[in-house]
Symmetry: C2
C-alpha cells in the first residue's frame, strides 16, 4: 500500500480483501468499492459534499426505526428495490410479473370464504376482483392461497391508521378447485410515501413528488409453484406513469372496468354500477 | 414511465430528476443512481442480499452517535474518505500532501511556546519534532500556527480516555519569524479504529485488521496560505503499509531518526538517545 495516489487508491483498497474471503462477498465488495470510488471520481466529490452526504446518512439513521426504515425508502425511491425485484423476476415466459412486497404486509390475515367481502363498513367505490390462478399454459391450479391487502379510502393501510381495525382491508382466501377466486372490495387510493425525512428532502431536491398510484397487493402461493408477490394498479390512476417507487409494470396496470349490470351487481352483493376487475394470476413451477 | 424492465429502469429513474434541479445536485444524483444500479446489476444482487444490506445500514445507523459515526468509519475503511482527500489535494507541485483530519481533532488546544514540551508525565519514547514552515520555493513563512495532536502510549487520544487530561498531547504553537518550529513529545502509537460495530463486521469478513499506523496530526495555518491538514507516520511502523483507513502517503512516511548526541539531547531538555523528527511543511498560497 505504498505509492497511494488518486489513481492507485482503488486498487489498493481492493487488494486488502483476503483471498480467503467468501467468494460471493468478495465479488460484491469488489464491485461496490469500484462503483463507490468511480462515483466519487466521476463527480469529483468535494470535502463539503462528502460532509453533506455523511450528515444525510446520519439523519437517515436517526429517522429509521423498525417500523419506519428510511434506508428502504431511499432504496425504493432511487429504484434500487424495483431493480432487484426485476432482476430476480420470473424467467418463465407468460408468468405474472412480480412487484415489491412493501412495508404494509402483515402475516396471518384472517381467512375469508372465496367470494367473500372486504368492504364491510368502508366508504369508497365498491367492486369485485375475480379471476383464476393458473399455469402459463392455462392449466388451472386448484386451491391456491391468495393473501390480499390494500389501503382504505383515506389512503392509509390499517397498520398505519389507529382508526381502522387491524385487519381492515386485508384477508386470505383459497381459490376453488378450478383455480377461480373472487372477492368484493373498494377501489384502493393513491397515497404518498413518507416524505417528512431525508428521503423527502432528496425527492424535493430532485423536483419529484412522493405519490404512488393506487394498487391492491397480492401474495399468491400454491404447492408445487413459486410464490408470487405482486400488485395490480388501476390503469387510469393519476400517478400510473410516475410511481415514486417504480413499482408499476405494464402487465400489472389493469382496467378497473365499470360494470353497469344490475344482475351482475346482485350476484356479487353489490349495487350497479361497480368496478369489475378480472385478473388471472400465472404461477411458475417451483 | 411505462415499459419498465431491468434494461429501462435506470433511465426511468434518471428521467425523474427535474430540469430545474440544482445543476451540481443533478450531476451528483445522475452519477450516484447510475453507479448504484450498475453495482446491483453487475453482481445481480439477490433479494436476500438486499435485505442483508438494509439490515447492515440499519445497524450502522443504530451504532452511530455524534461522537461515534459509523458511516464515517465505513467511508474511511473503504478508502472513500482518503480518495476525496486525494482529489481535493493540492495541485501545487512540491507542497506537503494532506491527509484526513480524523475524529480526534478538537479546536482550541492550549497555546505553548515554540520549543515547548508535550511530554509532561506521559510514559513513552521521548523525542523532538522540528523543522520549518515554508513555500514550495523555500521562502520561510513567519509565524504560522501549528495545531498538533496525537495519542498516548496506551494508544488512546485524550478525548477517548477518561484517565488523560483533556488537553494531554495536544497543543498549538507559533513558528518563529524564520518559519522554524520545534516541540518535544513522545512517539505516537499504532491503534485500532473502532471494530465493535458494523464496520468491524465488514473488516472481519474482508479478512482485514482495524489497525492504523502511529502518526502525529498537524494542522498548519498562515495568513495568505491555504490551510494544511496532514499526518506524519514513522516509516518503521508495523502497519505503515496496511493502514486500515488508507491515510499514509509516501511523502508523509518519515524517519523518526535515533539521535544519540548528549549535546543535542540537552538542548531539547531530553536524555540521549531520543527520536529526532525533522520535517518542513510546505504551504500553498491561498
Amino acid at each position: 500500500m505504498t505509492n497511494i495516489t488518486k489513481d492507485t487508491l482503488t486498487e489498493a483498497v481492493l487488494a486488502t480483501i483476503a483471498d480467503e474471503a467468501d467468494p460471493r462477498f468478495r465479488k460484491i465488495m469488489i464491485s461496490l468499492i469500484k462503483h463507490m470510488h468511480g462515483f466519487v471520481k466521476e463527480v469529483d466529490l468535494s470535502q463539503d459534499e462528502w460532509r453533506t452526504a455523511i450528515e444525510f446518512l446520519y439523519q437517515t439513521g436517526e429517522k429509521t426505526t423498525r417500523k419506519r426504515n428510511e434506508f428502504i425508502l431511499l432504496s425504493d425511491t432511487l429504484g434500487v428495490t424495483s431493480l432487484i425485484d426485476l432482476l430476480s423476476g420470473q424467467a418463465t415466459e407468460g408468468a405474472t410479473e412480480s412487484s415489491v412486497l412493501g412495508p404494509f404486509y402483515v402475516e396471518g390475515a384472517p381467512i375469508i370464504d372465496n367470494g367473500g367481502d372486504l368492504i364491510g363498513q368502508n366508504p369508497g367505490d365498491p367492486g369485485v376482483v375475480h379471476g383464476r390462478v393458473m399455469t402459463a399454459d392455462g392449466t388451472e391450479i386448484p386451491g391456491a392461497l391468495l393473501d390480499i391487502w390494500q389501503n382504505a379510502s383515506n389512503g392509509l393501510y390499517s397498520v398505519e391508521d389507529p382508526d381502522q381495525d387491524d385487519n381492515n382491508l386485508r384477508c386470505r382466501l383459497h381459490a376453488d378447485a378450478d383455480g377461480a377466486y373472487s372477492l368484493t372490495t373498494i377501489r384502493p387510493m393513491p397515497y404518498t410515501v413518507p416524505d417528512d425525512g431525508p428521503a423527502g428532502v432528496m425527492l424535493h431536491a430532485m423536483g419529484r413528488h412522493p405519490w404512488r398510484p393506487a394498487h391492491i397487493h397480492f401474495k399468491v402461493t400454491a404447492k408445487g409453484y413459486q410464490d408470487l408477490v405482486t400488485e395490480l394498479y388501476p390503469d387510469d390512476d393519476r400517478y400510473i406513469d410516475e410511481d415514486a417507487v417504480f413499482g408499476v409494470r405494464d402487465s400489472l396496470s389493469v382496467t378497473f372496468a365499470r360494470n353497469e349490470s344490475e344482475d351482475d351487481a346482485r350476484s356479487y352483493g353489490l349495487n350497479a354500477p361497480f368496478f369489475d376487475l378480472k385478473y388471472d394470476f400465472i404461477l411458475r413451477p417451483a
